[in-house]
Amino acid sequence: MTDLVVDHVNFAYRETPVLTDISLKLRPNSFNLLVGPSGSGKSTLLKLLSGLYPTFSDGTLTGKLTLGGYDIHDIVPYQRVTHIGYLFQNPTRQFVMRTPFEELRFSLENLQVRPEDIEKRITDAMKSVGMTAFMHHDLLNLSGGEKQKVALATVLAADSDYLLLDEPFANVDPVARLQLIDVIKAYQSQGKTILITDHDWSGYTDAIDDIFVMTDGRLHNTSSEERQQILAKLPNQPTIHTSLPNEKEGIITLESVTLKNGKRTLLSATTRLLPKEKRILITGPNGVGKSTLLSALVKLYPYGGTITYQQEDIAKRKIAKHVQDIALVFQNAEQQFVAMTVQEELTQAQALSHSPELWSDDTIVTVLTQLNLHDLRDHIVYQLSGGQQKKLQVLLMLIIGTPTLLFDEPLAGLDSASQQHLLDIIADFTTRQHQTVIMISHQLHAVTDWFDYHLKFDNQQLNYIGGAS
């Protein structure tokens, strides 16, 4: 195996350093975990290792990253990929082709694999990730977990020596996650080297050889004592404490509602009510249709049956009026910004707030400070880090104070401290504003005691679970 070496690397955007004096050499055939708070530079390091940066960034690099003595970013991609495979956190926007077969074919053609070998390599790779049945399915219709398996299959097909994974499970459900972990472990056993960044290592603790910690752009290798501490931090099976609802009326009701993705049924005729001013958690395997359900509630996705909001059929409500009553905090924060600077966004939200007396300037200062956003008031929102954008977006939507707020994975990609802060703020203000909260979250560790009710979305069913109230 060719050596992958990071030698005194610094990386900065304009004047802002992201990585400072990083040196790293991975042991051949090892399984390495890279941890650290969100925004600490983990993703940047992985993109540099994959050779995508600095080419696809506007940052400046000093120091050396080499593969077998060559600068990584100077190696032509079709050769580089056979040595270093890279898995994105969210593969959705990274596929060029329409189906998994075409995507793998595209990749193998790029690698100049002989035409007669291509089909066998595709079949083998797809078999390893258990996705042969999906070979000619539309990638757009696959779940996050399924897409990640296809993305992994392209790396397997290229037979890369190093596999870099950037929070690969952030949008993957527990079942698919374990399957992916098995494939990755099996890949390592073929003599490959793994480097993964993650906030949650339940399920593969035993496989980890080395742990690296990134703090504010600085990397350090852990002692065995630190290792134990880090690995012990996560409980493995969180239990969620909720009760069953006994309300007779709901602010939202579903009457024989069905959801489809292409031809696939996501939800078969379901009648369910969602009580007012409660916190409702929706969980379930990825691709099962949770996000789709929230989209349908704000009229962004077609559905069968009837959905009502306060006894009114939402199909008959004008979208502009509807979203004054029920708003969605989108997964992609950027979509929800309407101004340029943090301050402009806050001012806009304050002006439109349903409870302006609650959102005084002082309150906002306090919350901004809790969220570590206070020093960023004159920053351009599009230049904040992903975590900062997410926190700001949630805050803005809280300020607007829409009576019913839907959250789609608001905690994904945040470190556990940020998750807790954000949840506390959501809890505090939604209670004070008498809001109904419906949230999809995979970050179960953070949310065990927080919800009133728990809807489980599985096998095309949507059912309340939990102890009797």
């Binding site: 991609p77 079709y78 890279y86 060029v96 704000v298």
Partner: protein, 220 residues
């Protein structure tokens, strides 16, 4: 027939039609296209489209020229009406079969026309993103409505949001392509090698020559 050859034939004739002022020739083009459609086994809906679609723009030109034309404007009015039909019927020979032939068309562009793979796969990429583009536009509008702002077509913010999505997506897709080994300007292998039959070239030349000969008489 290879779709690129077909495309070239149609394109050349369509370009010429733009400058030819003849009702007869337009009708001939429509007639020949109609004859070829008999072999393409069109759905009745497609026939309906072929008749209805050119009607609005055709009549639009016809009325304007009848009312506001000068010189030999009545002749021109009929030319325009027939030309719109000729354009659509001719173009339809290529576009109505495109669903089955799109991949071969693009592969021919890459392998035979030697169009840079960067352009070909950029085109393939955005084509596959079309459903996402329409959903994204809807989302952009609704997401700002949730913040109390409605984006209209005359507001720069709407385009800014769309371009922002384009910037993010192009960056992601570029990274995705490169991480799957795509190398600008490098050679690629091909699972399916495209060949253009000699017969296709022959047909292309015959059709184009025949069409030029048709131009010789002074048609109405």
């Amino acid at each position: 027939m290879n779709p690129l050859i077909k495309f070239t034939t149609v394109m050349v004739i369509a370009l010429e039609l733009t400058f030819i002022k003849s009702v007869t020739l337009n009708v001939i083009v429509i007639g020949v296209s109609a004859f070829l459609y008999l072999f393409l086994k069109l759905h009745w809906r497609q026939w309906l489209w072929l008749f209805i679609l050119p009607l609005l723009p055709g009549l639009g030109s016809w009325f304007s020229l009848m009312y506001f034309g000068t010189g030999d404007h009545e002749h021109m009015a009929w030319i325009m009406l027939s030309r719109v039909f000729a354009y659509l019927w001719l173009g339809g020979l290529f576009t109505l079969k495109l669903n089955d032939e799109r991949d071969v068309f693009l592969a021919t562009l890459e392998q035979k026309a030697k169009l840079s793979a960067t352009f070909v796969y950029a085109l393939v990429g955005v084509l596959n993103f079309m459903p996402a583009v329409s959903q994204e536009m809807k989302t952009i509008r609704v997401a700002s409505q949730m913040r109390g702002q409605t984006l209209h077509i005359w507001q720069p913010q709407l385009y800014f949001k769309a371009i922002l999505a384009a910037i993010r997506w192009s960056q992601n897709l570029a990274e995705g392509m490169v991480s799957h080994g795509f190398t600008e300007g490098a050679a690629r292998t091909h699972l399916q090698v495209v060949t253009i039959k000699r017969r296709d070239w022959f047909l292309l030349i015959i059709i184009l020559i025949a069409f030029q000969l048709l131009l010789l008489p002074n048609w109405y």
